[in-house]
Every structure is written in structure tokens, then in C-alpha cells.
Symmetry: C2
Subunit: 156 residues, 2 copies
């Protein structure tokens, strides 16, 4: 498939929530965790409102030429004292629609996030990727990320 060069990255709107959840579901890990129902559980819209209100968080989508949403990413800018008080960027929930993978869309989203974090004064961008996502780890290494940390989690 050819690389899509002309995607647009823009902030997500409330009416994107359904397509974003559909991308979260279309994933080996997400399929067990999400509920893609009609109507969509209101918890997703409440979460969107919390994200939308938070000045340190940007939820963005990638839109193709026809205005279809085909990818998403969340970037948090986290202030903190360490590294001489430099903020950190945290990249989360990177997804590309399954019929649009391997076309450079994820790369465009991640490069956008890195540039945006840098612009906001971050000295570091971090992310956690599930141990089973070996392809994702190779993808991030190709973009310059190091496998520097162990990501640990506790689910309730």
C-alpha cells in the first residue's frame, strides 16, 4: 500500500468518540476491555469531556482525504521536578484503523506528538507499550525511542 501523505491531524471532537472506541476495540487487548455498543456507554463521553477540559492533554485524530478518522493518539504534557524541572510528554492510546495500517499513519501521529512535546518544553517523551506488542516496540525504536524502562501496572 502507498503511504498516505496527506492526512490531517486535528483535535478530537465529541462526535469522533464512536470511531475512536471502534479503533480501541479492533485490537487484541482492547477487544476484551472495551464495549462498542449502540448507544455507546456514557462513560466514554464523560471521559472525553474530562480529556477535553484538561489543558495538559490533547486527544488527536488522523483524518484522511475524505474526512474519515483513521487513527488517534493522546498526548499528556506532565510537569514535574525531575530532570531540572522539565516537563515530560506521555504518549498513550495510539491506534490506526486496521484497514489503514502499514501506511505511515502511526508514524505521522507519533512524530506530531514528539514535535508538540518538544514545542511545549519537554525534554523527554515516554510511553508504555504492552510486552506482547513486539511490532509496536520495533516501530517506536525506528522512531528513536529506547527500550529504557520496565512498564508496570496494577489493575483493580
Amino acid at each position: 500500500m502507498a503511504a498516505i501523505s496527506s492526512i490531517t491531524i486535528r483535535h478530537a471532537r465529541r462526535d469522533d468518540v464512536g470511531v475512536i472506541v471502534a479503533m480501541l476495540v479492533d485490537d487484541p487487548l482492547g477487544s476484551a476491555r472495551e464495549r462498542l455498543e449502540d448507544p455507546l456507554p456514557p462513560s466514554y463521553f464523560r471521559a472525553f469531556e474530562r480529556v477535553d477540559r484538561d489543558q495538559n492533554i490533547q486527544l488527536v485524530v488522523a483524518e484522511d482525504n475524505d474526512g474519515a478518522v483513521i487513527g488517534c493518539l493522546q498526548l499528556c504534557i506532565l510537569p514535574g521536578l525531575s530532570s531540572q524541572g522539565a516537563s515530560r510528554g506521555l504518549i498513550e492510546d495510539v491506534r490506526v484503523a486496521s484497514h489503514c495500517r502499514s501506511r505511515g499513519i502511526g508514524e505521522r501521529l507519533v512524530r506530531w506528538a514528539v514535535a508538540e512535546a518538544r514545542e511545549k518544553g519537554c525534554k523527554l517523551v515516554e510511553l508504555l507499550t504492552h510486552s506482547t506488542r513486539v511490532d509496536a516496540q520495533r516501530f517506536y525504536e525506528r522512531l528513536g525511542f529506547a527500550r529504557s524502562h520496565v512498564g508496570m501496572s496494577l489493575r483493580f
Copy 2:
């Protein structure tokens, strides 16, 4: 050494910034990254102000019986769409003063953060710990965390 049972966990204040930076420096990784100078570089105070203003971030310290600050931890509550719109807790910058280690202070701080994240509606608490911090990984495993993810980073 006996466990300290009577430490107090409270929000950090501006006049704690020096002792927090001293704990960040007193660490194999932090010693190369921080600048413990007198006066302290203003970037640390600017970072403290950003943290203090952010309603989703709590920087806390552990205080001993005599009011000395002997530990710190930062907890971010991050909204997001995944996991049915559940917020995530992110634990960062956990440090205990070197002369007070192995006395349960880190455990008290992390248990506080987990309880607080749960209270705020999180379904998940995450953290990144540097690959070289093998003792820290064992510590978090003992507190119920799984080594579920690869933590990746890009420093500018």
C-alpha cells in the same frame, strides 16, 4: 532498622523543593540529570508551580515524626477513552532519602498513591521504572504490580 509507622504523607509545598531535589540527586540516574546548587536553579520552582496548579497532579512528601521530609512521590490522574473511559493513575518520581531506605516509607507512599487513584475512579495504576532499577521492580511486584509493559523513552 525498624519500620517507621508514623510518617505523615502531605502535599508538597514550595519550601520542600530543595529537599525533594536533594533526594532526586541522591540516586545513580538522578545525579547526572539534576543540579543541586545554592540557590537552586529557578527551573525547579517553575516546575513546582506548574505541578501545584494542575488539579490532576499531586506531588506529596513523607514527613517523619520530627517534620523532616524523607520521601516523595508524584501521582497524575490521567483521563482517557480506553478501558471504557476509566482514568489511569501514573506514579512518578518515587524517592526515599538514602538514610531512611528499607523502612517501609516507599511502600507507604505507593500504597497511598494506589488508594488515592482508586478513590479518584482509576481502574489502573501505571509506572515506568528504569531497566537498571531491579530492586525497584521487585518492590513494585511485591505491592501487586505486574511487569506488563515495555517503557520506551526519547530524550531530546
